[in-house]
Symmetry: none
Subunit: 186 residues, 4 copies
DNA sequence: GATGAATGAGCCTTCATTCAT
DNA sequence: TATGAATGAAGGCTCATTCAT
């Protein structure tokens, strides 16, 4: 007897994975990283079991979301963005995936550190030019840039969606770092 | 099926209240503000019911913890501390009660705003002198000081206890604000 | 050292008892007989302990409320009321203390049966006259009257306050028993 | 700390649902509709979570129990039962599911009213014939029949199982309505 | 490989009851 | 004797995780 009803079979694997990622993105942004995993599966239109197959634990899911962001960051860098653009992009990610930071912090060792290195590498590539252009404070190191990112992202966590962009702008200004928010960030 | 063992009577009231506060302090610092309330009661050696009598909801408990901190801050200010001292004190509070910020942010309306105002008032009283002494960046407003506090406190949330002091020091330096950590802050 | 603060001393005993009764009356009517005993104590302005001294358990309290009603019924009978008046009075009690019936039913043996006998005696005293006046169905016995009371009172339990009087009137009519609701019963 | 023992898988779904219904039936009858839901789950040999999946709240469960009864009533009507038979069936339901009435009364709006209408429709279909046969008092309307049902069912709530049948019979007689209890009703 | 139901641990909250003062 | 805080058992509900189909 064949599959009775709704069982798309293996073909759905890839489709499911990306639906889950997208759903996780949205749910984490709306309800924080403590949101029920079941709500992500539901939103993705996918069974609980499939969620577990693709992402064995909560952190995997968060890491995957972050990885997408880092990919995008690297792409922007390769496409010629400058430091303010890149900080703006990071800020957008922080605004949209608020809370994702929280969770990664807890399981840092493996995944997180690699991701962090990739971000640092991107920023490092623009460090010199930014210093020269006065877009960051004199004497600021790459680690300072990373610290700035962490400070800003962390603060956004505790703000309602509507206030995040303004909060980020004020924070970057206080840090003396130039940032160019992407179009459409509210 | 009520009382099973001893009933210390109302005499325990004050003792219980402070035991609960202390336990909350510790538990929130260790496990964040989402920690089980039952763990706080247990750690305080107090019944669940008593916890609820003293603090009808999670936010009451958090607010009480913060209030203690603000009291201490005002006392320090009255005792002649300068801005770096006060930022140092705030930093100690942030290090020890990490996570408390989280919860207050969500229920901001009443309690939090008042507490926030009290902190702002304390910092405002030292703003002029700090500017004159070059302890904060030129042009920094009182709101900038508050933003600095928020950025630093927020970042500590995601750090294991052992790294917090160092993280705070680096952050304050990046912000260009002088801070004098109290003795014994690890 | 004398009593520190609010401790009226033994003088309050009688006062407390009646305050508790009144509060119980009101609370049972509003929230049913399952209402927290603490809410009764609070409403009476009396400590929990005192409530327990006067009424060692929930049923005692209910029984006391009912006893008041029966007293009033006997008084009305002695004052010359006829059966429809008395049924009306019983109905008022049922409307106001809805739910009291429920609880008595569970602990019937002692208290309840005695109370029940007193009601039956009152109705019996008017049975003949009521039959003669056609106020009850031909052939109705005193036990039938009691059954009627039970049916009506039971049905009111499940009705919101506003509908009870109308419900009672319909029910008595269906039972073929004349009833004269007291003034002011809504 | 999730599943500890066996997980029968979805195959158990239907089995669980009916086990829950049956358990609810029994528990509500024995202990009233305020009985712990956990006791129902336990009796059904089903996890707490499954109970909540099948019946998200107490009322759902009660409604499902009542619905079964109404289904049976309609079936009996379709099968040629007359009014006394149907009242007898209703009486059996009331005897066995005592207390179910209570809960429905509180959440009347949606579900209950529909169920009530279905019962009324069944009785209405036999009203004429019953009047003609003298099985109900002259002039009794369908609403009077419904009121009778409510009075009888309500009274049974407060009686121990062993006395219910006799109580019902006396009540119906007092109401002047003929009732034929099904075989085996104790 | 997907599905979705089952499971039960665990947290929150309420409340009856006791008892030191 | 009154007071009111303390206590903890118990019930409601949620959710991470497993697993038969």
């Amino acid at each position: 007897m064949p599959t009775s009803r709704t069982n798309p079979g293996p073909a759905a694997a890839a489709r499911n994975r990306s639906a889950l990622l997208e759903a996780a993105h949205a749910v984490f942004a709306e309800s924080g990283t403590a949101a029920p995993l079941s709500s992500i599966a539901r939103r993705a239109g996918v069974g609980q079991g499939s969620l577990y197959r693709h992402f064995p634990d909560r952190v995997s899911l968060v890491a995957a979301v972050v990885e997408e962001n880092v990919d995008e960051l690297e792409a922007a860098s390769a496409a010629g963005a400058d430091l303010p653009d890149l900080l703006g992009l990071v800020t957008r990610h922080a605004i949209e995936s608020v809370g994702v930071v929280d969770l990664l912090a807890e399981d840092r060792p493996r995944r997180m550190l690699q991701l962090r290195e990739r971000v640092a590498a991107v920023l490092a590539a623009h460090h010199e030019a930014a210093l020269a252009a006065g877009q960051v404070p004199q004497g600021a190191t790459v680690e300072d840039l990373m610290l700035g990112v962490e400070l800003v992202a962390g603060a956004l966590t505790r703000r309602p969606a509507g206030e995040r962009a303004a909060m980020a702008v004020r924070s970057w200004r206080l840090l003396g770092m130039a940032v160019a928010l992407p179009e459409g960030v509210r």
